[in-house]
């Protein structure tokens, strides 16, 4: 990735999300220009069905500082969309497991009838192993499979 310019990197990550759109059957706008009352910003992508009821914006963070863009965060707050900053090294190319992991973490908020079949979040209680693993006790902790 070091041989690429910043613009090339962001375009490549945006393309990876367009690939995810096809492969995972999700709505993606990439690259995305975020327009808010106090200004605009170029972002990696917009996912209308994830992150929150109004969708989410994906911003970029890069080594070595991994500094988030506070202006993008502010603009997202203004228009009421969720915001996540992804490490461009980790999302440079489309990788199914990594992208699904992020999408599950962000949560699906779109039309229930159009929810992708790969999107499942199982919620349950995992018992504490305080009786030699011989069965579920009363105590336990909630787990969220896929998060």
């Amino acid at each position: 990735m070091n041989d690429h310019t910043l613009t090339e990197v962001l375009e490549r990550v945006s393309r990876a999300w367009m690939t995810a759109s096809v492969e995972l059957d999700i709505r993606v706008v990439a690259p995305y220009r975020l327009d808010a009352p106090s200004g605009s910003a170029e972002c990696v992508a917009f996912l209308p069905d994830f992150g929150g009821p109004s969708g989410m914006v994906i911003g970029a963070i890069m080594a070595p500082r991994f500094q988030t863009d506070k202006r993008i965060m502010h603009l997202c707050n203004e228009v009421g969309v969720y915001c996540s900053f992804i490490n461009v090294d980790a999302y440079f190319d489309y990788r199914k497991e990594r992208f699904i992991d992020a999408l599950r973490d962000w949560g699906y908020f779109g039309n229930a009838e159009k929810q992708p079949n790969w999107f499942t979040v199982k919620i349950g209680i995992k018992p504490k192993d305080n009786n030699g693993g011989k069965g579920a006790g009363v105590e336990g902790h909630i787990y969220f499979e896929g998060l």
Partner: protein, 51 residues
Amino acid sequence: MASESEAVELLKKAGATIERIEAGHLPPNPHCYPHINFTTPTGAKGTIRIR
């Protein structure tokens, strides 16, 4: 609680891969606070809360 930059430095020193930095999620996700998602050198996933 660590700031964003402090947490980034801690994770870098630990050899972790920083995946995402994001605001708190809506339920049912339990991470309802600003956080960093990371992967350890052994492949374990984790989350660190930030200010």
